[in-house]
């Protein structure tokens, strides 16, 4: 065991820092730091800048156009990217479907789809949850029936993040209605432009539109778009979820928010002093700082433990990561204080007219506080994660 950073690792960190300094566009950085919503174009532009550098897929092996970085390097990249004000990387292709295709997809699928993920030629979204199947995902009802060399898909997906921008959706569908819940499920890749695909927006607590319903009515999908084997989809889905849980620990986000809130608490004053002088605020900052340190080391331990998909230990990360993100969002709102009360969802859209005339940091704090409630719900609720820990880690 050696718990110090090597010179090589430090050099790597410096090279990421230097790159961010020179290549992250100022406008994207500003929007990200101000917690404004990024446009589709902003994401695409940033991904292409990274791809140009050869960093389009920090988590992928070199043979697929990835960086070939080890898990430690990936983590350093995430932290430094966030620290510099870089937006989050779209996870749908890079962290979700990509690894599944590498492991279970066909050569043809890998050759056709992976390169396009690097540059967001294809924007992917995830068709997992359904109105009746949230925590109990395996009860999903979307049906795919064989008809010659096509599947005909009928059903409804929900909570589909950024489906309004997507070109493709990877869907869990039921191919064998007779089989027991988990064993009749397959993964299908569906072109969002197919006839019968309808996207309907879902407005969330902060009034914004990030998630959608995706309706599938007699959608014809070529059988070549089946991933792996028919009725083995649950195995692939679980493989993907393990990746998702480490991804949504949100370490980079936590580091950036913590630094941001320290600055904000020092700048924001009441009648007598800066808020950072208040014992209650100081205590919260100090506690969260310690929590983030623990989260980082936990992530390093889990991430470097093996090469395969993370095991059930990822649930510990998901629970703590999501809770710390919520603590930060709540602290942000407390620092904003009374000014968080006036609110219009239109204000926090990037380049809104109000963003020119109003100081919207308090509105962004309110939006963030409400929006981050989702972190303990999505990707498996905290309650479900605790069941996983009890059953799979502790064996009780």
């Amino acid at each position: 065991m050696n718990l110090t950073w090597t010179q090589e690792e430090r050099d790597f960190r410096d090279s990421v820092r230097a790159f961010m300094q020179t290549h992250l566009p100022q406008d994207i950085r500003q929007k990200t730091i101000k917690h404004q919503r990024l446009a589709r174009e902003d994401y695409v532009r940033w991904h292409r800048i990274l791809a140009e550098q050869g960093w389009g897929a920090p988590g992928w092996p070199v043979q697929y156009g990835g960086t070939g970085w080890n898990n430690l390097q990936r983590l350093v990249f995430e932290i430094e990217s966030y620290r510099a004000g870089g937006p989050r990387l779209l996870p749908f292709g890079l962290s979700m479907l990509g690894p599944v295709l590498m492991r279970f997809g066909s050569d043809e699928q890998r050759a056709r789809l992976l390169p396009r993920m690097l540059t967001v030629e294809d924007w992917w979204c995830q068709g997992y949850s359904e109105p009746g199947s949230g925590s109990d995902l395996a009860s999903l009802k979307t049906r795919a029936e064989r008809d010659g060399d096509h599947y005909v898909v009928n059903g409804q997906k929900t909570w589909t993040t950024l489906a309004q921008y997507a070109d493709w959706i990877f869907c869990l569908v039921r191919t064998d209605p007779q089989a027991k819940a988990q064993s009749g499920i397959s993964v299908l890749l569906i072109d969002m432009r197919s006839p019968g695909v309808t996207v309907r927006p879902i407005k969330t607590l902060d009034g914004s539109h990030d998630v959608n319903e995706v309706w599938l009515e007699n959608v014809r999908v070529p059988i070549g778009n089946l991933v792996g084997e028919e009725n083995r989809g649950w195995t692939y889905a679980k493989y993907l979820l393990g990746h998702e849980r480490t991804n949504i620990a949100g370490l980079g986000h936590c580091h950036r928010e913590l630094a941001h809130l320290k600055m904000l608490a020092a700048e924001t004053r009441d009648e007598n002093a800066a808020l950072i002088e208040r014992p209650a605020i100081r205590e919260k900052i100090v506690r969260i700082e310690a929590d983030v340190m623990a989260l980082e080391m936990l992530l390093l331990r889990v991430a470097t433990a093996g090469d395969g998909a993370p095991g059930p230990e990822a649930s510990v990360l998901k629970i703590r990561g999501s809770e710390i993100q919520q603590d930060l969002a709540m602290l942000h709102m407390e620092i904003a204080g009374p000014d968080g009360w006036p609110y219009d969802p239109g204000w926090i859209v990037a380049d809104s007219a109000e963003s020119q005339t109003r100081d919207l940091h308090a509105a962004a704090a309110m939006a963030g506080y409400l929006d981050y409630r989702k972190t303990t719900i999505y990707g498996g609720t905290t309650e479900v994660q605790k069941n996983i820990i009890a059953r799979m880690v502790l064996g009780v």
Binding site: S129, G132, S133, G134, S135, D136, S139, T158, W159, I202, K203, T204, L205, G207, V211, R269, D270, E271, L275, R278, P279, A280, I281, M330, M333, E334, G337, P338, D339, G340, W341, P342, Y343, D344, M366, Y369, L370, R373, K374, T376, I377, Y378, T381, T382, E383, K386, N387
Partner: protein
């Protein structure tokens, strides 16, 4: 002490609950908020049922009820998420006017009495809406006016500066504005929007996170007559403190009512929503979280009682201490209950499609109104 409602209080509560069930439904609330301003028909219904003049003295054509009646009434209004300015006008502003008029050491007592005689009956009937304008930009909850100044001029005063976070500021017909006077003390002015003109005030009306509205008022040399000054110096601060204590007590009852609604709608959701072949309510982990909601709600409701009970306290320091403690607890517990309700509703709780989000946001807003948990902590730490 007697926790049983009197017959009259019980009847009022019943008729309120009926009115709420009929006219403050989820869709009615949403429709009114989307329309932007104050819905006059809804306002008239609240006036008619008698909640606007509830604690206004009979001499001023109110019902002269004991402050204890604030509890069942605002609990019922909170349970139905009423957004109209009942607390802003009928409780807080009315209390400020009364305290200024009653205070014999108030050098402007005569002005205050005329203002009370003119405004309180109109507040009770709903024909006038008054609201406090005391907060100033970047000064959080400071209760001593500094940015808004009143300079003496020949026929009265000239008001300059900006007030912010004025609850229902655009719908109000009268603002009770605190301002720094030439002698360095603060005064409270009644700004009657119909008679004092509006060409020298810019009103920036915005929605709030909780289906309500607030305004920023920018005064640019608004001229006011001498008699607009209704309290000065210590009398002004005492009237403002008292008004906020009454308002906060009503807010606490409102929050407790909102929490009760959330607990019961969350319990219903758990009984209905099926996952893993059974209702969510069968899972012990979720039962415990629901129990945590109830515990928080009971603590908050108890603190609403503490706050309302404190209003009859003669010692203003003791009153402030108890009301601040109540607001601290209610602010924290309200957020806790709202967060748990969202968590237990899962993805559906995150949407704008259910009432659970509206209740959650109201509870968050109540924490931010008239002193958030941080502010109450500072107040209480200062009194330790």
């Amino acid at each position: 002490m007697d926790f049983v409602l009197s017959e009259e209080q019980g009847m009022l509560e019943d008729s309120l609950r009926r009115l709420m069930a009929d006219q403050w439904t989820f869709s009615a609330r949403r429709t009114r908020h989307a329309a932007g301003g104050l819905d006059r028909a809804a306002w008239a219904a609240l006036a008619e049922v008698g909640v606007l003049g509830l604690t206004i003295a009979a001499d001023y054509e109110g019902f002269g009820e004991d402050p204890a009646s604030l509890l069942p009434v605002h609990r019922a209004l909170g349970a139905a998420l009423v957004s109209e300015p009942v607390i802003a006008s009928g409780v807080a502003a009315a209390t400020l006017l009364r305290l200024a008029a009653e205070n014999e050491s108030n050098t402007c007592q005569a002005h205050a009495q005329s203002a009370a005689t003119a405004l309180l009956p109109a507040i009770a009937s709903g024909s006038a809406i008054a609201t406090l304008a005391y907060q100033e930009p970047h000064r959080r909850y400071a209760r001593q006016a500094r940015e808004v100044r009143a300079e003496p001029v020949e026929d009265g005063y000239r008001l300059t500066g900006t007030k912010t976070l004025v609850w229902h500021g655009a719908a109000a017909s009268a603002w009770l504005v605190t301002a720094l006077l030439a002698d360095g003390t603060q005064g409270v002015f009644v700004v009657d929007r119909t008679t004092h003109g509006s060409d020298r005030v810019r009103v920036d009306d915005t929605p709030t996170i909780d289906l309500s509205r607030c305004a920023t008022l920018a005064f640019d040399g608004l001229l006011l007559p001498h008699h607009a000054l209704i309290a000065q110096g210590a009398a002004a601060s005492e009237a403002l403190d008292g008004a906020l204590d009454w308002g906060v007590a009503a807010l606490c009852a409102h929050a407790a009512g909102a929490m009760e609604s959330l607990v019961s709608s969350t319990a219903d959701y758990l009984k209905t929503r099926q996952q893993f072949g059974q209702p969510l309510a069968q899972f012990q982990a979720l039962q415990h979280r629901l129990a945590e909601m109830l515990i928080a709600q009971e603590m908050a409701l108890s603190m609403a009682y503490v706050a309302v009970a404190a209003l009859t306290e003669d010692d203003s320091r003791r009153r402030r201490h108890r009301v601040a403690s109540a607001k601290l607890e209610v602010g924290r517990r309200g957020r806790e209950v709202g967060q748990l309700a969202v968590q237990l509703h899962g993805g559906m709780g995150m949407t704008d499609e259910l009432a659970v989000g509206d209740y959650f946001k109201r509870l968050v807003a109540i924490d931010l109104l008239w002193g958030d948990a941080q502010d109450q902590l500072s107040t209480l730490e200062g009194m330790l």
